[in-house]
């Protein structure tokens, strides 16, 4: 299985400015967050990228990633019908091929090395997908207090593979009770679950399921991706993979700040940023709080 295409979703009405924020990457270059994400995809050998956008955002988005314009296709999502629908909007673009899927509000910093180079999270995932020849989602063990924020997968470890899981169930933002009853993965610490990383390799089977769901539901209904993935798990082999790296959600409070710090501390300017942080801490005026 060869992965040539990537789909990035960025059409949420209230979060569409997030990927346009300017960041400084590991090499000290200023660029938009979107560009960082696009480069993550390209690093993994993707040739064509579709970004699902909110209607009317085309120009601002093109401006943010002008130098990759030739590989890009911007697709407007005509109605705000949920995450699953956004992915569905790329069905013509993917055209029956497997594809890499990224979300536009997550940045990734990999800790995997190969031949002296960093192997990005997307690279790691595509490598496994191409070997295993099936849909695969990047996951990371997450404490149960974060359940309200993520899609969670339940399943079991693939024998002999420490970071690979067969997915049996997927629930979006489960309650702790649902998680405990349906999503426990043997081998994880108590109270920990596998949450989505925002990075997937999906086969055309997903598009088929999404298409069925769009056809079955009425026009106002919202479609989520997790139920489609849960169904995928019943139809074909579907794996989850713990990649070596961390994800940074720029959509939460201080998310961009933390992501920026993480980028800086993993790149060339590490010493400089650290020195400034230490100075900031040392000279910070102590206010009354003892917390």
């Amino acid at each position: 299985m060869k992965i040539r295409k990537a789909v990035i979703t960025a059409a949420s009405q209230f979060q569409r400015d997030l990927p346009l924020q300017t960041m400084v990457d590991r090499d000290g270059v200023q660029k938009s967050a979107l560009k960082v994400i696009v480069e993550e995809a390209i690093s993994a050998g993707v040739e064509e990228i579709a970004i699902i956008i909110y209607p009317g955002d085309e120009n601002t988005y093109l401006a943010a990633i002008s130098n990759y314009a030739s590989r890009l296709q911007l697709i407007e999502q005509p109605a705000q019908r949920g995450y699953g629908y956004a992915v569905y909007c790329a069905r013509d673009f993917t055209g029956g091929e497997p594809f890499l899927h990224l979300v536009s509000d997550h940045l990734y910093i990999s800790s995997a090395q190969a031949d002296g180079h960093t192997k990005t999270c997307a690279q790691q995932l595509i490598e496994v997908a191409e070997t295993e020849n099936c849909s695969i989602s990047a996951v990371q063990p997450t404490r149960e207090n974060m359940l309200p924020y993520y899609g969670i997968v339940g399943g079991r470890r693939v024998t002999g593979r420490s970071s690979l899981y067969t997915v049996e169930n997927v629930i979006e933002k489960p309650t702790p009770t649902e998680a405990e009853q349906q999503l426990i993965v043997p081998g994880l610490r108590a109270g920990y679950y596998l949450s989505f990383f925002g990075l997937h390799v999906l086969t055309p089977g997903v598009m088929a399921i999404l298409t069925e769901q769009v056809e079955k539901s009425d026009e106002a209904a919202k479609l989520q991706l997790s139920p489609a993935l849960a169904q995928l798990a019943t139809r074909e082999r579907y794996l989850a993979c713990e990649v070596q790296g961390r994800r940074y959600d720029i959509g939460v409070h201080y998310g961009t700040l933390i992501a920026q710090l993480a980028l800086a501390l993993s790149g060339r300017a590490r010493d400089d940023v650290l020195a400034q942080l230490v100075e900031l801490l040392a000279t910070r005026e102590l206010t009354g709080s003892n917390e």
Binding site: N145, T175, P176, E180, Q181, I184
Partner: protein, 1124 residues
């Protein structure tokens, strides 16, 4: 392998279900001891819960019922105090070790057997409770709640639909009230009563036999409500303060909680159930208890910064004890509303899905365990719609119970469809069934323990009865399937008639065979009367829940249903009036209208103008808000007032709120004034000694008297009596001359009986103020008999046997005189042929609010029975609350906040004999029969005491003034005993023991039965027969002796009833002087005689009744009686 172990481990049901009694009846003492040793070894080895528990109950039963009756068993023995201490602290294994070591050393005896029985019984139930608790905690879906220890860990968030303020027409444009989520839940009734098979352990051990027919119903009280509605409601809304507000409309209580630890303080107020629900729903997870975290932070995490939650419960005035599982339904309703609000149920509104209902039911079990209470597994049945069959399920490999117990903790629910119970049948059921609350509210806890115990022992009669009950259950299920049934002669009959016949058969057959205590005189009287009045239109009776007297059902022909409703109300009311003093009634009887609820628990989101809480809530909250200065009201409070003001004008459900508010703000004082007047009046009438009362108060407050001061000096030497100190009459082999002397005395009319009946048996009904003497406690000779009736029947028999009338005196007090006189008149003295005299008490005390010092002494320094972990926590929290109450109400001040009779107390049985001298009863008796020389004095609850000629003869021949009957001590005989105190043989009260351990060195226990030589007793008062007519002389003589008698301060429980069958128990201080202390007077020649346990045993607690019946004591008493 030993025989009993092989019964336990048998895989063949026929062998496994063999009864213990059958085996034991044929076994010798040595065989039984050998079996005990094998069982003890087996239960320690076995890893299977069921095997361990059954072995423990076998050991209990052998030690309690079989070993003591064996020939060659030694009666006298001592229980090691260390073992008793272990028992109190629930360290049963250690206690068993201590007792077994003592048994090996001293040989088997009655005392050690009783101690072992208590320890095995305790360990059996502890093992069961631990298993239920473990199952509840390890259920997948509950475990996470025990891991959360910090707000940042909390994984729940409020549903967005609840978390936005919205405008209403009545409030300002940008008002700040939030929508309200309302859950309405029906209660459940059990149409079958299949032998309490919903007890957790039964379901877990015998899932095949655990079946109930459970119906969700709406209720209305006839004559008060217009139509049946779901009786239970729970409301939840977000509020703009970071606090937890809880309100219970039915209990009229509300609280604003700002501190996390307060959520776990269950008994601090009346809101324990709401707190348990919030915890079991995971909003405040159990794991966070004691973490020291801030409630505001936790709420911020769940609801949002600066926000909190308000939860309101409302039970539409359905009285407590309805046997309709109101409190579990309310708990379920509250948990459900909390789970919906935090996204733990998919549907915010409407009904719940099946797996969600199961989850709520499981959480309700957790909540009950947290709150230290417990129900059966069918009690949350109201969450499900309509009629359903709930049954136990064998544990499968995926269940946490697998390999531990045969069945699962949670049963399965099968909702009956139109084939199982067609609409016509449901309608017919509703047309024929009259649901009532008889007014009694009793603790069913002991009954559930008895059921479990008897199930494990497989006693023949009970086991057969259980199988019969299952057969009746099948009949009922079959009857529900057909709208019309054919009778034997081919006639079409209404299926309800068949059901009614089956439930009646069940009640009078299997149910009473398993537990005789489920019925009572009240229930049987109303059934009889209803049958008589309705004739063939009476179709059946059916008991709801644990025992009868509270919630009950009558099935009648549909055309007389309305008549039957009012008729039953009259019958219950008039029967209650007759028995009011004899049985514990909590309220007046009620009749319900009911309707089957076909949708189960159901939620609605009330928004905008509809966001209204129940009327009673406003009755509680608005007066408080109105008292606050306008400018200090928060925005939401102002909006609340605005919205309420507009709603109260337009919404029909708030009709009458103006009146309610008026009542709340300007309460009428009339009622309380009335009761205080009658208390004063009663005190005045009874010759209450105010000077003495003030003196006692002063001494109490200054610490000169009190619980700690009751004790003898610490340097008193207290040792067990030696061989000659006690005359052993326990085997009935007294010399003929004793018998002859006794018979001669009886025949010459020299004897009379005195029954002490001044008390209200605080322990018997936990302070409910029932006249114990009149309590129809047990069926003997085919009928319910009161204590008095039994004593008269014994006197009747003795009188007939010796051909001489036996005068019988019943001593009374201000609490008991009028009820006893009225009752005896109504019963025509039970046809007693001899003289029957009442000796009214001449002394009365006014209860006082206890000193904190005494409460602490009673609860902290005296050995206390430790409870199960959660129940213990609840008790400690209650003790704190009561200590606060005593401080605020004023230590040592008069206790007047209750019914007048509940504020008074009799002053101890010592006074009852002097009363006889003072009130002229003895004088009259002596004038009528100058030959009278002896009295037999006994407690009302010493049922085995009769005028035994041999014992009387022994007393006469010994020449003693007083001969006290004592029995060898068992572990449950607490409160003093016979001892040599500084060389003198005398009775010592438990209150006076300088050290708790001393009592365990005494092998005899006082029965209170005393043979009195009248002239010698008078002499000890400095009187003769001729002086009795001289009031002043008698009074002075009594005062002189009274001054030498110690005054004991005691703390007793008193119930205060309020609302709809609600009861609170308060500790109160009172004082008493006790008859046993006469033995301390050197001039009184007191002797002691050991009698058999069956003769001397006292019944202090209703929980003793079952053992009393089973160990043959009841039969013994019955043989002494001759009924009218």
């Amino acid at each position: 392998m030993s025989s009993l172990v092989s019964i336990i481990t048998a895989s063949d049901p026929a062998r496994r279900n063999q009864s213990l009694d059958t085996f034991c009846r044929a076994a010798s003492l040595q065989e039984l001891l050998d079996e005990c040793a094998d069982l003890e070894d087996f239960r320690r080895r076995s890893t299977n819960l069921y095997e361990r528990v059954r072995a423990l109950f076998f050991l209990y039963a052998i030690n309690r019922f079989h070993l003591p009756n064996q020939a060659g068993m030694q009666a006298r023995g001592l229980t090691p105090f260390m073992g008793y201490e272990h028992l109190l602290n629930r360290r049963f294994e250690e206690a068993i070790d201590v007792f077994l070591t003592a048994q090996a050393k001293d040989g088997p005896n009655d005392a050690i057997c009783s101690a072992l029985a208590a320890a095995y019984h305790g360990l059996g139930f502890q093992t069961l409770a631990n298993q239920v608790r473990r199952s509840v905690r390890t259920v997948r879906g509950d475990q996470w709640m025990f891991r959360i220890g910090h707000p940042a860990d909390h994984p729940l968030r409020i549903r967005p639909e609840l978390n936005y303020p919205q405008s209403t027409t009545g409030a300002s444009a940008n008002a700040s009230n939030f929508p309200i989520l309302r859950e309405r839940t029906p209660v459940r009734m059990d149409l079958s009563h299949s032998g309490w098979s919903d007890i957790f352990f039964l379901g877990m051990d015998y899932p095949e036999g655990a079946r109930v027919l459970n119906v969700s119903i709406d209720l209305a009280v006839v004559g008060r409500d217009t139509a049946p509605t779901p009786p239970v409601e729970a409301y939840l809304r977000v509020i703009d303060q970071p606090v937890l507000k809880l309100a219970s409309v039915d209990l009229g209580a509300s609280v604003t909680i700002t501190d996390l630890s307060e959520v776990f303080d269950f008994a601090k107020d009346y809101l324990g159930l709401l707190k348990a629900a919030i915890i079991a729903a995971g909003i405040i997870p159990p794991g966070i208890e004691g973490s020291g975290q801030s409630l505001a932070h936790l709420l911020e995490r769940i609801v949002g910064p600066g926000l909190g939650l308000e939860i309101v419960s409302n039970v539409n005035n359905i009285p407590k004890g309805s046997r309709l599982a109101v409190s579990t339904s309310l708990l379920g309703s509250l948990i459900s509303v909390c789970m919906r609000a935090t996204g733990q149920a998919k549907s915010l509104t409407g009904p719940l899905q099946e797996h969600e209902r199961r989850l709520v039911a499981a959480r309700a079990i957790l909540g009950e365990w947290l709150g230290g209470s417990g129900g059966g597994w069918q009690d949350s049945g109201g969450l499900w719609p309509g009629m359903k069959l709930i049954q136990g399920v064998l544990a499968g490999e995926d269940d946490p119970e697998y390999g531990v117990s045969r069945g699962r903790l949670l049963p399965s629910h099968h909702i009956l469809d139109d084939t199982d119970a067609p609409v016509e049948v449901r309608q017919k059921l509703q047309d024929s069934l009259v649901l009532v609350h008889g007014g009694m509210a009793q603790n069913v806890g002991p009954i559930l323990e008895m059921v479990t115990e008897k199930y494990l022992l497989r006693s023949e009669a009970e086991w057969l009865a259980r199988q019969k009950a299952l057969g009746i259950f099948d009949e009922i299920v079959a009857a529900l399937r057909k709208p019309t049934l054919l009778s034997a002669d081919g006639e079409a009959t209404n299926p309800v008639q068949t059901i009614g016949a089956a439930t009646t058969r069940n009640f009078f057959g299997p149910i009473q065979t398993i537990i005789p205590w489920t019925t009572n005189l009240y229930t049987e009287t109303i059934i009889e009367r209803a049958k008589a009045q309705l004739g063939s239109r009476f179709w059946g009776f059916w008991m709801l829940g644990g025992m009868s007297g509270g919630g009950m059902g009558f099935m009648v022909a549909p055309d007389v249903k309305h008549t039957a409703q009012s008729m039953l109300l009259d019958i219950m009311q008039s029967t209650k009036e007759q028995l009011d003093d004899a049985l514990p009634f909590a309220m007046d009887p009620v009749v319900y209208d009911f309707a089957i609820n076909e949708r189960g628990t159901y939620a609605e989101l009330l928004e905008g103008d509809n966001a209204i809480l129940p009327q009673g809530y406003y009755g509680m909250i608005i007066p408080v808000l109105l008292r606050i200065d306008q400018r200090q009201l928060s925005r939401s409070q102002r909006d609340e007032l605005d919205q309420f003001s507009s709603a109260s004008r337009s919404r029909p459900e708030l009709n009458g709120i103006a009146q309610l508010l008026f009542e709340r703000m300007l309460p009428r004082l009339k009622a309380s004034k009335d009761s205080s007047q009658s208390l004063d009046a009663m005190l005045a009438q009874s010759g209450f000694d105010r000077t003495q009362h003030e003196q006692i108060r002063e001494e109490l407050r200054s610490g000169r008297i009190g619980l700690a001061q009751n004790r003898l000096p610490a340097n008193a030497t207290i040792v067990d009596v030696a061989g000659n100190d006690v005359f052993d009459a326990s085997h009935g082999s007294l010399p003929n001359e004793c018998r002859d002397a006794g018979i001669a005395a009886i025949e010459s009319g020299a004897v009379a009986v005195v029954s002490l009946a001044a008390g209200v048996g605080s322990r018997w009904t936990q302070g409910a103020g029932v006249v114990k003497a009149l309590h129809p406690f047990c069926k003997l000779g085919g009928k319910h008999r009161s204590f008095i009736e039994v004593h008269l029947a014994k006197s009747r028999r003795a009188a007939k046997r010796f051909g001489a009338p036996l005068p019988h005196i019943i001593t009374t007090s201000y609490l008991t005189h009028a009820p006893i006189a009225k009752y005896l008149e109504a019963q025509e003295n039970y046809g007693y042929e001899g003289a029957l005299l009442l000796s009214p008490g001449r002394a009365i005390g006014l209860r006082m609010i206890p000193m904190v010092r005494d409460l602490r002494f009673a609860w902290e320094e005296m050995p206390q029975q430790l409870l199960d972990v959660q129940a213990q926590k609840v008790r400690e929290s209650l003790h704190h609350a009561l200590i606060d109450w005593a401080t605020h109400a004023g230590e040592g001040s008069d206790y007047t906040d209750n019914l007048p009779l509940q504020c008074l107390h009799p002053v101890g049985h010592w006074y009852e004999i002097p009363n006889l001298l003072r009130n002229g009863v003895l004088l009259r008796l002596l004038e009528e029969r100058p030959q009278l020389r002896y009295l037999m004095l006994h407690n009302i609850d010493t049922l085995g005491a009769n005028v035994d000629p041999a014992l009387l003869g022994q007393h006469i021949l010994s020449g003693a003034s007083l001969t006290y009957e004592v029995i060898t001590r068992r572990i449950e005989d607490r409160g003093g005993g016979l001892a040599r105190v500084d060389g003198r043989v005398r009775l010592v009260e438990g209150l006076a023991m300088p050290n708790e351990t001393d009592e365990f060195g005494l092998s005899y226990y006082n029965t209170m039965t005393t043979w009195i030589e009248i002239d010698k007793l008078l002499a000890s008062f400095g009187l003769t027969r001729n002086d009795l007519a001289n009031d002043d002389l008698v009074t002075a003589a009594i005062r002189t002796v009274a001054a030498r008698m110690p005054t004991y301060i005691t703390v007793k429980d008193v119930k205060k009833r309020w609302g709809h069958g609600q009861e609170d128990v308060f500790p109160v201080t009172q004082f008493e002087k006790l008859w046993g202390d006469m033995t301390a007077l050197p001039e009184v020649d007191s002797r002691f005689m050991a009698v058999s346990r069956m003769r001397g045993q006292q019944l202090k607690d209703q929980a003793q009744l079952d053992g009393w019946l089973r160990d043959g004591s009841a039969g013994y008493v019955e043989d002494l009686c001759e009924w009218r």
